[in-house]
Subunit: 202 residues, 2 copies
DNA sequence: GTCTATAGCAAGATAGAC
DNA sequence: GTCTATCTTGCTATAGAC
């Protein structure tokens, strides 16, 4: 991970990694199926750090919006030192056939943990949420987080300021939509959304 | 393209491509900067085919929803023969630094053409659209199309049936939201969305 | 400016000995 | 489990033909 951050993904050779780890190249491949597979370490690591960074926010805030914003910002905080490297490795993660896709079975560990984190955003908050929406919401929030990361990876503004603006802009929006979900007028729309999600899930 | 479709992206070597084309490897590199750059041909080709496949729909339908659904389905129709290959090359397209990203400057040609196509979906329709939303809508529809493709690439259901369901489910939703955009109650929400888009654009 | 042929490098991945 | 040697392939370099 240190080499990746320092030189970037492509510039870090398996030979260099093996040498740095004091083992032979073949041995590295004994433990990691491919260079790409090393990235899964990154996921697991990032998830643990994210959890830790989010804790103070979860302890402090009780408004849904503040909690969500805090957790999203914490996620980006943790990733920021690896921004350049993340941009280059993102291609591997995006490949659907890859076990590195955040949607893949191999990534289910970190994914479940992340969804659980967004569950805590909800349960610890004072928000009143539509009963039908509530069980779906943690996964939807995680999906939104994936969207934020997708934007962040492409974000070339200095310090990724735009991503911060995206979070600050999109959180009140989600907050409002969640509140509106209980409104009678919007019932058909939310129903339609749920039906669609249900259809696609299996 | 034929070799890619038959063997997949990784399994097709530059040596094989050059041989099949009856040229030397060096000559292939004279015309294409890298193996990845061959993919841009795919984009351009797909865009032209998409345009042609969408024409009958645009001639026939005048309801916004029907036009949008038709154009989205036409896009997937055109891509379907390359589904397997697309899944493996998608990684290159997803890398933000890559000139192959659909958001990159190098891809602006096909992108503009695609956005224009969604402009026609709108202008030829009978839909009444909020004045503030109208100029933004074609690009937003294109973005939604990118989302559909993202889903399609990951879609492992036989014949990518799920993607078809996604289109059929999401189109009435978009249709309804576009109609609702003129509603007074939702004005603050749409304003919020526009402000966010404006902020992020520069 | 367009093309061929060939040689060779770098780096991801693998085979097979120990 | 670990190593060394080797293979494969994207890509580059060179020298030369037309």
């Amino acid at each position: 991970m240190r080499l990746f951050r320092e030189r970037g993904y492509a510039q870090t050779t398996m030979r260099a990694i093996a040498q740095e780890a004091g083992v032979a190249v073949g041995n590295a491949y004994y433990y990691f199926g491919s260079k790409d597979h090393l990235i899964q370490e990154f996921y697991a690591h990032a998830q643990v750090e994210h959890r830790a960074a989010a804790q103070p926010v979860l302890d402090r805030e009780d408004a849904f919006g503040a909690r969500l914003a805090g957790v999203l910002h914490a996620g980006i905080d943790v990733l920021t030192p690896s921004h350049e490297f993340a941009a280059t490795f993102f291609k591997t993660a995006a490949e659907p056939t890859s076990p590195l896709s955040p949607f893949s079975a191999e990534s289910s560990g970190p994914r479940e943990a992340a969804i659980k984190l967004f569950g805590e955003v909800l349960t610890g908050s004072t928000a009143k949420v539509d009963a039908e929406l509530r069980p779906q919401l943690p996964e939807l929030l995680w999906l939104a987080y994936m969207g934020v990361i997708l934007y962040w990876v492409h974000d070339r503004s200095p310090g990724q300021t735009k991503t911060r603006q995206l979070i600050d802009g999109v959180v009140p929006l989600i907050d409002r939509l969640v509140a509106l979900s209980r409104l009678r007028v919007l019932r058909p729309v939310t129903r339609q959304v749920f039906d669609l999600i249900r259809t696609l899930r299996h």
